[in-house]
């Protein structure tokens, strides 16, 4: 009896998951403006059908994956957000700085005095707000920011608000070119003032792809106009000076998919072979309840060579709670090429990266929130969505839930998910007493409403390997603030089977990657928006007070250092070719340990262990 019951449930689930796939495929945007439909025919008909990278497997180490990701670049490059499509920001560089001083800025002019700095290779002014994470490839450094630094001041003085992508020379920080996105006339509902370009580019060889603040996927020439060529198909750029961007192609998600991104388009593109994977950022309108484009795609695959749409999917549909700002990850998992998206409804979605007949093919989906959790505005809400990027480590998927940081610290959940199951692999399923055997459809603000007769049962097909929410470290029977996981927009970093994530409350959590058991939390006393970097046996993480904490990658908490960056660090530190890059709101620093004074792992510089 009992056994039969479960078999029935599993059968139902399989049916449901199949239905989901069909529905989502049917719901691909049609007749909404100029939707590009040529791509579907191309993929099946053209001889140059886009190919996936089947060697990027989920079992690769972070460092191996990063090397592979840079096969068209230099081996020590950091060519994309999260170092590779596995998104695990780990570097094998040696002799990376643990001590530095950013030095002084003139009170009157704001000019940086390099001579007052220590271990800084170079520093360059960015805009007034910087959320884009640094990328380094083939001798160039890229960063998204706003127009505060006005590198093209004749055309765009600092008073003109823009989203910009800046390109600098890796060796000396010399400015090379800038891609400029004027603010959308639709205003802050789609393009928040002064937020700049929030995404990180992807660079392979001489091509750069990124998502602009205007909701476009743009392909640029890494060499800009420095190669004295206007590369196309786009050759009608109005400005073709050396300091301008050479645009290759543009895919306008607002126009071509009908997307309405909430406040900002943000996605750091994932790549596999010829495929680009993009979260469109589709979200709510000014009223914050209504989705102005409920049928527009949320997740798409484009051909990186020409920007043609390969497949699209709008799975979160009308259940998007606020915005969708999570970036995708990619890996071959269980033999299947999977692209993983964090949805604005709080679910992780995995698709067969190839799609199927030009349509999306859902493999599994996982609700990262408890079923009775409820979405409201502010810190009280316990249903969250996903802003962090899924990370793949040892064939498993890791992600924490989050919200707009302005809405408060809230409660958090961190998950380890097995990506080999199929269908709805959430920990629980929701039923209604009217038909207690049939799982009900997901409800946007609260999946399970007790008053309506809803109830939840454990899902026999759950893919949850473990779940971390809190831990009673002091064993007093109570869970204190410092013992809890809070909302995060930070992405995890994992090395030596230790997972690290920082939350909005400024707590850094160290969790056993196999069991989900936390070893320690460390309070930075300031909110973290960024994500950790792991290099050698150290973890680097920035906070809103502008401090970078350096912690030991170990089961026991050890604070190696705390370095002030001058103002808030909302970005994630990265290492490329042995150099550490950290941006605060308005400056990017290339940080390099002196060649002679190599810091020995485990040996802490003096005066650093002092807690704040």
């Amino acid at each position: 009896m009992h056994k039969l019951y479960w078999i029935a449930i599993v059968a139902l689930l399989l049916m449901i998951s199949r239905n989901d796939v069909q529905e989502s495929a049917q719901a691909a945007p049609k007749a909404k403006g100029a939707v590009d439909t040529t791509a579907t025919t191309k993929t099946s008909a053209s001889s140059a059908a886009p190919q996936l990278d089947m060697t990027m497997t989920g079992e690769l180490s972070a460092v191996e994956a990063a090397k592979k990701a840079n096969s068209m670049n230099r081996p020590g490059d950091h060519n994309q957000w999260g170092a590779s499509p596995l998104r695990n920001n780990v570097s094998d560089a040696k002799n990376v700085a643990t001590e530095w001083e950013v030095g002084e800025f003139d009170d009157e002019t704001g000019v940086w005095n390099k001579d007052s700095s220590k271990n800084i290779k170079w520093g360059i002014p960015l805009g007034s707000q910087t959320y884009g994470n640094t990328v380094v490839a083939n001798g160039k450094v890229y960063v998204g920011t706003n127009n505060g630094a006005a590198y093209l001041k004749d055309r765009y003085p600092a008073e003109i608000d823009l989203g910009v992508l800046l390109c600098f020379d890796e060796k000396d920080g010399k400015f090379l070119w800038q891609d400029s996105s004027e603010k959308l006339h639709t205003g802050r509902v789609n393009d928040w003032p002064l937020m700049g370009t929030c995404s990180s580019p992807l660079v392979e060889g001489d091509r750069v792809w990124f998502v602009s603040s205007r909701g476009e996927v743009k392909c640029l020439d890494a060499n800009g106009f420095h190669d004295d060529k206007n590369n196309g198909p786009v050759t009608d750029e109005k400005f073709t000076g050396k300091n301008e961007a050479d645009v290759i192609w543009v895919y306008d998600m607002m126009k071509q998919l009908g997307v309405s991104q909430h406040n900002m388009a943000n996605c750091s593109i994932a790549v596999s072979g010829d495929y680009l994977f993009v979260n469109t950022s589709n979200g709510v309108d000014e009223g914050h309840l209504n989705l102005p484009s409920p049928r527009a795609a949320s997740f798409i695959a484009l051909d990186k060579n020409n920007g043609k749409l390969i497949w699209s999917d709008n799975s979160p549909g009308p259940n998007v709670l606020h915005g969708q700002w999570s970036s995708p990850a990619y890996a071959v998992l269980g033999g299947v090429p999977q692209v993983l998206f964090g949805g604005g409804d709080g679910w992780v979605y995995s698709f067969d990266a190839r799609g199927e007949n030009g349509k999306s093919k859902l493999l599994w989906k996982f609700d990262c929130n408890p079923k009775d959790s409820k979405y409201t505005l502010g810190g009280r809400a316990d249903r969250n969505h996903l802003i962090a990027t899924p990370v793949i480590y040892n064939g498993k998927v890791f992600i924490g839930v989050g919200e707009d940081p302005e809405h408060g610290e809230g409660v958090g959940h961190l998950w380890c998910i097995d990506p080999t199951k199929r269908g709805d692999v959430s920990p629980e399923l929701v039923f209604n007493s009217k038909d207690p055997e049939k799982p009900i459809e997901h409800k946007r603000n609260q999946a399970m409403v007790k008053e309506d007769g809803d109830f939840a049962r454990p899902n026999p097909n759950s893919a949850a390997v473990w779940h971390y929410e809190n831990h009673d470290f002091d064993g007093n029977g109570k869970i204190s603030f410092e013992e809890s996981m809070h909302r995060t927009c930070g992405t995890v970093a994992i090395a030596n089977d230790l997972l690290f994530v920082a939350d909005f409350s400024g707590l850094v959590h160290c969790v056993d990657v196999k069991t989900g058991k936390p070893y320690w939390t460390h309070d930075m006393l300031s909110a973290a928006w960024g994500s950790p970097l792991i290099v050698e046996d150290r973890l680097y993480i920035g906070d809103e007070d502008g401090e970078v904490s350096i912690l030991k990658v170990a089961k026991e908490l050890e604070v190696i250092g705390e370095v002030s960056m001058g103002n808030a660090v909302y970005s994630t530190p990265i290492v490329a070719n042995g150099v550490l890059y950290i941006s605060n709101k308005s400056f990017l620093f290339a940080i390099e340990a002196p060649k002679q004074a190599a810091s020995v792992p485990g040996q802490t510089p003096g005066n650093v262990a002092a807690a704040k």
């Binding site: 000014e286 309840l289 102005p292 810190g379």
Partner: protein, 764 residues
């Protein structure tokens, strides 16, 4: 129950009103009251002694009571033994509203409450009760600005309404999702309220504007604002003070500047530019020095956030000339500072306490002091030599030391959410508003005592300058029916904005109607919707008042008489919507489209492509509004709709729905009705919306059909609201962010309901 005061507490009014009008001198004012959210001195400082130094919410140490109904984001006030706040009414229920709540300040027991609908607003329930109540110590009345723009003057003892105004329908107040709502202030016989206003005529462009109103009647004395097209909505509360002998209201504005206005006339005195974004912090004023902080981009493009000490004497733009000191890159954009014993204490938005020498701007201590948590929205409060601070979800009590502060108490509260309200001190008690509860701290047997308040700077006596400089025509803004009369008064002020006398004047009109030499205006008869400006000339000086004349129903607007002229910017022939409509110009233009003269909701403005506009009196009910609407073909469909009796009927383009609602963000949980509706671009539709009142409920019906075809007999959508809006101005809703909306042939007609005729109880 009444509190018994120790002898040291003297009932007096001298401090409060020193230098200001004589009118309030006769009334006894309790100096231990806290009649506005920043306290009796408007700077977060209490002169009381013997205040608590610790608090344990779990053991109840020093907890006198807590009240969960008074939980919220508003900071309460204390006046005449009562506590007033503005909070969510019946949170998370279908009947949720906003309410003014009055508690016994000693026991925490509810005395009365007064709830109102959050009609025609984008503010979500979680941000209801954003602003703070202000009390008038001389009358005991309280004033509340609701998040949607509903403004009330209430009797402090009973909660009975003395008067109210619907600031969005009447003046064009902007009520946005962010919820930022300004707190009114009392000055002499006026109440001063503000918002970003997109009004009519010469207030049609958006600006942060103040309404100087007669506190007894709500009559408008002046309406004036700062730079047009500001970037943000803001919520800085003005500080009423005296700068260089001149009465001044000093505030941070939506345009990114700190401004000083003359409070009696609304004339600007000076402005000090700080950011391209808006300023929400309230200033602290000490002597002639104004301290202001902000957290956005600095104008010299040097990072974000600054603290300025401004010499508050000057005229015009004093940005370059009046900086005493300026510290950059401290981002304090939410909580207001306190100035205590020569030090300025500032908490930035990430909950770091910075301390500066108030004279020099020199930092005290090497580094800022970390408060508990990662965010700060609350303002500092000081009393008894201690500083009370609430950050994120925590409460701390600090004591100044030579190098900074030391913590007497530090701990998390069970706040449930981000704390936004600030501590309040009155009669020996400390009140902490949090999202879970309002806590009252103190000891049972405490005897309130206080040091005397420092004397306020005095205005230069008015008699020193009896030369008129400003002519005020009151009411400055009025809505009349044809044939209705209104007598205007002319009031003269000297250069320092001091009232001199009422005066006769030479009146002239721009527009229709008549005015006699006593200032009595009679609106022209007829069915025109028109605007008239009254100019009162006194010698070489003149002042103006604005009149809208709106006839009784029925109304018809086809735009055919609107003159088009070539617009220099667009190169198109364009005209302006009817002058009397609130919130319509700037967001709409009249154009010829396919040979038909229509009103177009434009897409090209940076803000306001999604907006509401209103046609006239707010007391209309039982009427039907009809219009022809068409969406221009673009990538996406717009939303387009009509407003009747404070309800919206919305043809939602991308959702392909027809929806009746009033409180937009709450349609899923509160009153609304939605039906599917297929419609397309480039096709005219006729939309009809009938609103009425039956058996105490609002009855709402809407239908839509292709223009030129037979009107269907059945309504497409019908709904009954048992928490009804009983009256309201007809108007328009539209979201043209993605595509233009064409509007034509608007009519508003009486429903002919004999028991409840469409009508106006009284013109305002």
């Amino acid at each position: 129950m009444k509190t018994h005061w120790p002898a040291i507490v003297v009932w007096t009014a001298i401090c409060l009103t020193a230098g200001f009008s004589a009118q309030s001198l006769a009334v006894e004012v309790d100096p231990l009251d806290w009649p506005n959210w920043r306290g009796p001195e408007q700077n977060g400082i209490s002169r009381e002694k013997g205040l608590v130094e610790s608090f344990d919410p779990s053991s109840g140490e020093n907890l006198l009571w807590k009240n969960e109904e008074a939980a919220g984001i508003s900071t309460p006030i204390i006046m005449r033994g009562k506590l007033y706040t503005i909070v969510r009414d019946q949170p998370e229920t279908r009947h949720e509203r906003e309410k003014v709540l009055c508690l016994d300040a000693v026991t925490g027991k509810k005395l009365w409450e007064r709830a109102h609908n959050v009609y025609l607003s984008d503010v979500p329930a979680e941000r209801v009760g954003w602003s703070n109540i202000v009390g008038d110590p001389t009358t005991g009345r309280v004033y509340a600005q609701g998040v949607n723009g509903f403004f009330q003057c209430l009797d402090g003892d009973t909660g009975k309404e003395i008067w109210s105004r619907s600031m969005h329908e009447e003046f064009g107040l902007l009520s946005t999702y962010g919820g930022r709502t300004n707190t009114p202030v009392i000055f002499e016989d006026m109440v001063l309220a503000s918002a970003v206003i997109i009004g009519w005529g010469d207030t049609a462009l958006p600006a942060h504007r103040f309404l100087g109103m007669d506190k007894n009647t709500g009559e408008v004395r002046w309406l004036n604002g700062t730079t047009v097209r500001p970037e943000d909505t803001t919520y800085s509360t003005p500080v009423l003070t005296v700068l260089g002998g001149e009465a001044a209201m000093v505030f941070g504005s939506s345009d990114g500047a700190c401004w000083a206005f003359q409070p009696r006339t609304g004339q600007p005195i000076w402005n000090y530019k700080m950011s391209r974004r808006g300023i929400s912090v309230s200033p602290v004023v000490e002597g002639d020095t104004v301290y202001m902080t902000q957290a956005e981009e600095n104008l010299d493009n040097r990072g974000m956030g600054s603290i300025a000490a401004i010499k508050g004497i000057g005229n015009g733009d004093i940005t370059k000339t009046n900086t005493l000191w300026n510290v950059k890159e401290v981002t304090a954009g939410k909580g207001s500072p306190v100035l205590l014993d020569g030090r300025l204490y500032v908490v930035d938005d990430s909950a770091n306490l910075h301390i500066f020498d108030a004279k020099t701007g020199k930092r005290v201590g090497k580094r800022p002091t970390k408060l508990v948590g990662t965010m700060n929205s609350a303002s500092l409060t000081a009393g008894d030599g201690k500083i009370y601070a609430m950050s994120t979800g925590a409460f701390q009590i600090m004591e100044p030391t030579a190098t900074g502060v030391k913590f007497l108490h530090k701990g998390r509260l069970d706040a449930g959410d981000i704390i936004i309200g600030s501590p309040v001190i009155s009669h020996g008690r400390v009140y902490l508003p949090t999202p879970n509860a309002l806590y009252c701290l103190g000891t049972k047997d405490q005897q309130p005592s206080a040091d005397p308040r420092p004397a306020l700077p005095k205005e230069t006596p008015a008699g020193n300058d009896d030369q008129p400089a400003t002519v005020q025509v009151v009411p400055a803004e009025v809505l009349l029916a044809p044939g209705q009369t209104q007598t205007f008064k002319v009031r003269l002020f000297n250069d320092r904005g001091q009232f001199l006398k009422e005066s006769s004047a030479e009146y002239s009109l721009q527009g229709t109607g008549k005015i006699d030499n006593q200032g009595t205006f009679t609106a022209a008869l007829g069915t025109n919707h028109s605007a008239t400006t009254v100019t009162a000339k006194v010698g070489e000086l003149q002042g103006k008042a604005r009149i809208r004349v709106v006839p009784p129903l029925p109304w018809k607007f086809d735009f055919n008489d609107i003159h088009l002229a070539k617009d220099a910017k667009s190169g198109r022939d364009e005209g302006e919507p009817p002058v009397t409509w609130v919130g319509a110009r700037y967001r709409h233009k009249v154009r010829d489209v396919d040979g038909e003269r229509v009103m177009v909701k434009v897409t090209y403005i940076p803000k306001g492509t999604r907006s509401q506009s209103w046609f006239g009196p707010t007391d209309l009910h039982d009427y039907t509004i009809q219009a022809d609407l068409r969406a221009n073909k673009a990538g996406k469909l717009p939303d387009m709709g009509l407003i009747a009796q404070r309800y919206t009927l919305d043809m939602m383009g991308e959702s392909q729905q027809l929806q009746i609602r009033s409180w937009t963000p709450q349609v899923a949980t509160n009153f609304s009705k939605t039906v599917p509706l297929n419609w397309e671009a480039d096709k005219w539709y006729t939309l009809k919306f009938s609103a009425g009142v039956k058996d105490g409920k609002a009855v709402l019906q809407g239908k839509v059909w292709p223009r030129g075809t037979q009107e269907p007999a059945e309504w497409t959508v019908s709904a009954t609201d048992d928490l009804p809006n009983l009256h309201g101005s007809p108007g328009l809703f539209g979201n043209a962010t993605n595509a233009e909306i064409y509007i034509d042939n608007i009519s508003v007609t009486d429903n002919g309901n004999a028991s409840s005729p469409a009508g106006r109880s009284a013109a305002k």
